[in-house]
């Protein structure tokens, strides 16, 4: 089994930046790759301030952070990933973009390199197809925010080898994460359950059955969930919910996954959630002020 020493993270956006933190913090040499230098610069600033807080909170020493940051480099050139034993891709959620990236990476990386995809909605088998190494492509779905969340859903495509799966699994453990084994299934486990659940809550608002605040109170107090579904959607963004619905419905034709019309109306009206100050709730700078 190939030993994993050097990690590549392709795409340095919200997820990629967090994944690179997880890998580097666990002691791996980590290379962040993004087509955009701005994205890499932003990620570097966020990473430095994240680790500064870790020092403040005495989770890490200044010395440790220095070592971690010196292990973390970045590049806008794909060739910069040539020495990686595993490349985790977190580029745009678009099958063609991911396929094209893996095809090019196949020419750059040595034979043993594993390609892992952080896709939320696409199929691992489809992403792997045409990569030239579909036996060495595996799903590794991190949760947002990756630098804080322990869970990784690990899944295999139809042609993924058992050795690839085992290597990815051990690598998750070596990063101090908690892997769960699942299948190449729309939304894996988490999104498979949460997208329709959230849609049901939206439809309940749409049908006038209850106000968002009443629904959130009910779910939190009855079940001890940390957030109600509508607070969660405001946090994730109505535009993201719309994209998730579109991706899932196309794959599953599950009516519960179909986008509720209210979501489209809210997106059109600019009620995207926290980031625009209005979604199912209104927000001021410091947080919620009413439903």
């Amino acid at each position: 089994m190939p030993e994993i020493k050097t990690i590549g993270v392709a795409g340095s956006g919200t997820m990629g930046a967090g994944i690179a933190i997880v890998a580097a913090r666990a002691g791996f040499r980590t290379v962040a790759f993004d087509a955009s230098q701005d994205a890499l610069d932003r990620a570097r600033r966020q990473t430095e301030s994240f680790f500064a807080k870790s020092v403040e909170r005495k989770k890490l020493s200044a010395e440790q952070v220095k070592t971690i940051l010196s292990n973390l480099s970045s590049t806008t050139k794909l060739e910069g990933l040539a020495a990686c034993d595993i490349v985790i891709e977190a580029v745009y959620e678009d099958l063609e973009v991911k396929r094209a990236l893996l095809g090019k990476l196949n020419a750059v990386c040595p034979d043993h390199t594993i390609f892992a995809s952080n896709t939320s909605t696409l199929s691992i088998a489809e992403i792997a197809s045409g990569s030239g190494r579909d036996d060495r492509v595996v799903g590794m779905h991190f949760c947002l925010p990756a630098q804080l969340m322990k869970l990784i859903e690990v899944s295999t495509g139809l042609n993924t080898s058992d050795q690839t799966f085992q290597t990815a699994w051990k690598f998750c453990l070596a990063m101090g994460q908690t892997p769960v084994k699942t299948k190449d299934h729309p939304g894996f486990i988490l999104n498979y359950f949460i997208v329709p659940f959230n849609n049901d809550a939206i439809r309940m608002v749409e049908a006038g059955i209850a106000e968002p605040a009443d629904i959130d109170t009910a779910i939190k107090k009855a079940l001890g969930y940390p957030m109600g579904p509508l607070e969660l959607i405001d946090w994730v963004g109505l535009d993201t919910q719309l994209k998730l619905c579109e991706a899932f419905y196309k794959m599953t034709y599950d009516p519960r996954a179909a986008c509720p019309p209210l979501v489209r109306r809210m997106v059109a009206a600019g009620h995207l959630g926290r980031k625009t100050g209005r979604g199912f709730y209104k927000y001021d700078r410091d947080g919620m002020f009413g439903g």
């Binding site: 949760c143 486990i189 988490l190 009910a218």
Partner: protein, 215 residues
């Protein structure tokens, strides 16, 4: 503002001592009918129209069954309620308070005050099968049971994923085991009968548990 309790026996919401029961007294202007016969007891209450609010503990039925309905204009000082409770687990601190389109705002306010002063949390909803929580969680529980059958992941991995990924205190499989799969069957079956939505159709494992309970 005092409240009065009429206990018809067998209440799922208040199976034992509770602040709401302790703080009750005779002649209150909020009347709380609890127990399996709460709806039937309404007819026997004299001049209930003159009270601030009359609160009927509901099972899986709609409030309209007890009050009657009038082409979307129904609503009075009578509300329904139930404390959310999973199977044999203890009742939660959540009260689902059921209103109708024409329910008096002051009756809703009085009901909320009565429950909240007893330390309970109130969520108001329209008169619909499954109210809020059951309507949202039963398709999710059925889905988890189906995906366990389909081998999406082991029971432990399903539970771990939902606990770590969403911060739920307990995964769906462990929760259903703890609170009773047969009870889940009964609740989701009633919702399936009422709404005919396939998400509520009792999952195979819930049907098995129900059959074994009868046997």
């Amino acid at each position: 503002m005092a409240h009065t309790i009429v206990d018809t026996g067998g209440s799922r919401s208040f199976p034992g001592p509770h602040a709401l029961l302790r703080s009750a007294g005779p002649g209150g202007d909020v009347l709380v009918l609890i127990g399996t016969g709460a709806g039937m007891a309404l007819a026997a209450v004299e001049k209930h129209e003159s009270l601030k609010a009359v609160l009927i503990e509901l099972g899986t039925e709609c409030l309209g069954v007890h009050t009657g309905e009038r082409r979307g204009g129904e609503g009075s000082n009578v509300l329904g309620f139930a404390r959310f409770r999973l199977g044999d687990g203890p009742p939660s601190d959540l009260v689902e308070l059921v209103r109708q389109p024409g329910t008096k705002p002051e009756s809703i306010a009085a009901a909320k005050t009565a429950f909240e002063s007893a330390g309970l949390h109130v969520a108001v909803c329209m008169d619909t099968p499954g109210r809020i929580v059951d309507r949202l969680v039963r398709p999710y529980y059925n889905g988890a049971l189906r995906k366990l059958d389909e081998g999406l992941a082991t029971a432990d991995d399903l539970d771990t994923t939902l606990r770590l990924g969403l911060g739920y205190p307990e995964g769906p499989i462990a929760l259903l085991e703890r609170t009773g799969l047969a009870h889940h069957h009964d609740v989701t079956k009633a919702l399936h009968d009422a709404l005919a939505d396939p998400g509520f159709a009792p999952a195979r494992r819930a049907q098995v548990a129900k059959r074994r309970q009868k046997a």
